[in-house]
Symmetry: C2
């Protein structure tokens, strides 16, 4: 994929039977509503991200430049019953964007039509960029990386909240995407989990290039260095990102890996120590500056108690950005600069 | 590649100008001399692994089943001036085996001739096996993984020495290969550094499958979790291997990453603590049971002093397997079983 995706988007929700399968569309509608002109649903679609209902032709007329597959179907493949809608989008003059492992560019019917319509197929999970081995050299600018006890507990949300809060405070900051939904939000990035293992850190070095000394890259995390399946992605991302600051993301009511429930989450204290030990290979000043906890399943008062107790225990700012904002994390990031 | 490579081999040393570029051939000649019938060199070849000089036709007559490219040319590609020799091997009835990133199967001339001769092209750096995500479940049998402060300091040598010493002691043990030379020695394995990052731990799970309770898999390590470029490979391999025992490999006279000299090696004590913290995600009993130090550049007495001092400092057995054998490591592995 090229460096910048064509925006704004029409969000294709297809015919998913569970609203939760429209996470990508929901993320886009939440974080970049100004870059989403509407949603396009097939009959019996159970998802709804609250945008105007538009056909591809109507969306194109309203200024959309691309249709995004905003859902993750069971099995991860693009079912044939969606082809008609995808072809209609090309016919309407929209490019197509997908974040799935299966590639749009592996579907001959779409390739042929895209060529006829002079439109592009963007498979954001895969990159055409030449990725070198990491060189481990320090780059100018500052970097904050989300790390976590697990996958799927709020690292992307925390990174986007932090970026917005920094910008609101007048601090130059850029969200850097490392996964498919993040890439669609940012319009650029590399899905590091699809890179060959030898080059993950090299990809991370490309994602947060040298910048102005007072500029912060806020880097979306992936998985966990403690994840039995995905630690390779997380370790390479950690070293290539050479973070000055890390925000450790946890979950208030989940104590095991979401995808591998027989494996317990590690303790926050141990996680801080191990992340700092590893990160200091490429940035001797790397520190965990705070903790972001997903408290979605706790009542407000219980959430406040839990966060307060954890803060006392680890001696770092602790918050749930969704409920309580991320001011304490921003303060901790900027305090290091004083 | 299939599960088992055709052996014995003719080792192709080509025309490399530096003996050090024939590391793969040297490893094969050292570890599996009974599976190497000879060497085949082009004019002006500076390498020599001490085997009988044979042409492909002579090697085939002597029982060879495949010719191995035993050198790593500068740039990593297969130069066109070698094609004649590779074609001659196919004509002589030998299969071809390469461990390079560049694939034999991407060279049309070789593909066509292999088809005509009904021979196979084995690119051991790449696997055709379907690799699943890791499941993190405990497997029966015991596993010892080589880990290290860096790449290229003796992990493969240590693993092969340990395997031999265990077998000599009557303990059932299998060397498990994770890189190209190791795969040629073992005849099977997966080059984990060429696997997509999301699947490294899954590949490691395939490499050391469930086994008899008293059987040891001795697993070749890759890179280092402290390597700025390759930690992703090492972290995934660590979790997928779920080692009971780890041997930490270091270097007596190198204190920085070989490929990235601006990055210092970590301290042995820190390396032990971080490896154990990470490994316990998939094996709560994981321990570093000893240290293997490459002392090649020290005189014998200085090497002995260095190893003794380190042993006192870390409180674990320390040896250089090349010079002093690996009995202390074997004792430490088996002590845990008592």
């Amino acid at each position: 994929m090229p460096n910048l995706l064509p925006q704004p988007y029409l969000l294709f929700l297809a015919d998913v039977d569970v609203p939760n399968r429209a996470k990508t569309a929901a993320g886009l509608a939440h974080w970049v509503p100004d870059r989403c002109v509407g949603q396009f649903r097939l009959p019996r679609c159970a998802a709804d991200v609250g945008l105007k209902e538009l056909t591809p032709a109507q969306a194109a007329a309203a200024g959309a430049r691309a249709m995004v597959i905003g859902v993750a179907p069971q099995g991860g493949a693009i079912p044939e019953r969606w082809h008609e809608a995808l072809l209609a989008a090309l016919d309407a003059g929209l490019h197509l964007i997908s974040g799935m492992h299966t590639r749009l560019s592996d579907i001959p019917e779409l390739v042929a039509r895209a060529r006829d319509c002079a439109r592009e197929l963007y498979d954001v999970r895969h990159t055409d960029r030449e990725i070198p081995s990491a060189n481990g050299r320090r780059r100018s600018g500052k970097r904050c990386l989300m790390v976590g006890l697990d996958s799927a507990l709020g690292k992307k949300y925390t990174a986007l909240s932090l970026t917005r809060a920094l910008s609101d405070a007048g601090v130059p900051a850029t969200f850097r995407a490392t996964g498919q939904t993040g890439i669609m939000i940012a319009g650029e990035g590399i899905a590091v989990d699809a890179v060959v293992a030898d080059f993950v850190a090299g990809a991370a070095e490309l994602i947060s290039p040298a910048n102005e000394p007072d500029h912060w890259d806020v880097i979306e995390g992936q998985g966990s260095i403690f994840h039995a399946a995905y630690s390779g992605v997380s370790a390479g991302l950690l070293h290539g990102s050479q973070p000055d600051a890390m925000v450790l993301c946890g979950h208030a009511t989940r104590d095991h890996l979401e995808l591998l429930p027989h494996i317990a989450h590690r303790d926050y204290g141990e996680a801080i120590a191990v992340h700092e030990a590893l990160a200091r290979v490429t940035n001797p000043g790397a520190r965990v500056i705070g903790i972001s906890v997903n408290t979605a399943e706790l009542p407000t008062e219980a959430a406040e108690t839990m966060l307060g107790d954890l803060q006392t225990r680890v001696g770092l700012p602790v918050t749930d950005p969704v409920r309580f904002g991320c001011a304490p994390l921003v303060d901790a990031m900027l305090m290091g600069e004083a």
